[in-house]
Symmetry: C2
Subunit: 243 residues, 2 copies
Amino acid sequence: MNVLIVYAHPEPLSLNGALKDFAVQRLQAAGHVVQVSDLYAMEWNAVLGAAEIPERVHHRADILREQEKLLWADKVIFQFPLWWFSMPAIMKGWVERVYTYGFGYGVGEHSDVRWGDRYGEGTLAGKRAMLVVTAGGWQSHYGPRGINGAVDDLLFPIHHGILYYPGMEVLPPFLVYRTGCMDQQRFATICEELGQRLDTLAATPPIPFRRQNYGDYDIPAMTLKSELSPGVVGFKAHLQTDR
Amino acid sequence: MNVLIVYAHPEPLSLNGALKDFAVQRLQAAGHVVQVSDLYAMEWNAVLGAAEIPERVHHRADILREQEKLLWADKVIFQFPLWWFSMPAIMKGWVERVYTYGFGYGVGEHSDVRWGDRYGEGTLAGKRAMLVVTAGGWQSHYGPRGINGAVDDLLFPIHHGILYYPGMEVLPPFLVYRTGCMDQQRFATICEELGQRLDTLAATPPIPFRRQNYGDYDIPAMTLKSELSPGVVGFKAHLQTDR
């Protein structure tokens, strides 16, 4: 299969760099074809400019290349260090510029009865995505009652709003905590765990996000129908836990 | 008082541009001193480079200027369009570069009994912050069961993780939905509502986030003590709803 790794870390000799190199080798050894968008090495332009907003769009070559990679890929991995509880700006700017109107959003019929092809449908339907994220804090800091906020909630805007929105299925993330406390043995263990996840990209069940256009939501209010997950509010409401 | 507006929109003639201009005039008319960091106009460098990571930090002049503005301000407004359910990359890159080690994080004692001055303490303690955010979608899309995710949850990583983290109190956000559906009358109404919020920056009660170092959390696990908000998980756990 074809795997695209969108990768953001400024330092090649970092833990992130080592994990990215490991992932490329593991996937290639399994016979897959891998492309890496190494955003720092590419000196990716992170700033969506006025000339690129929808009304006057003319896509630059750098954007078209990334769109071609996405269309080529069966699986897409986004790897980054968690900076201020989200992806680095350079990767956010990749999303903003590559997800153009008609590609990443504004796809399909938009009316008062159908709100486009998104959240489970769209340009990238049929593909699978997974985050590989490193964090300096401890796992408990990101637990259900951890002070930083639960990691599943912190990642929801990316999982649901960036990966699932244009149609990709989203696999559970691969997370590495406490990156300041690393030695050879722990690194080897982490690589083995990451390797297992890479070996099972096709088989791992995705996060069961609800699809927009299959009856779960009232349109155009786009609210979850009252009989589904009654009383549940927030991000959890958008998981198919009741089927 | 001194008000800093950190503002990100590529198009001066946009709704965002008009709201920013209105805010400046309203605050100045009330006798306040206003500085604007217009990130697109400044051609702000959004990409945190390897030379700026903590171990080898030497702050550039552009970073020092923004830090001085933050230290000068009593109130800080962050205004931006919601792009992919978060702030634009150029503003995320402002946070990443301006919040240097020892300024935005890594402040105070870090040990197994005290995890730094953050979440209610820190360099920016005593200041207040507010988001002014525009979104193309409808308010219901961002409601408690709206498909985009509840807006309070989408903004938590910014409110709690970026504004509250270095010590600022966080006021409820000012939100404008359905920006594609605007006319003179609605714009006037929105300005009036925004004006009220600007007039009451000092008086509006902040979001009651829990403070890290005042007994609510077990340290170093950094998890909410079991007797507080029992059974509550996720972002809501970090609100002082039980006092």
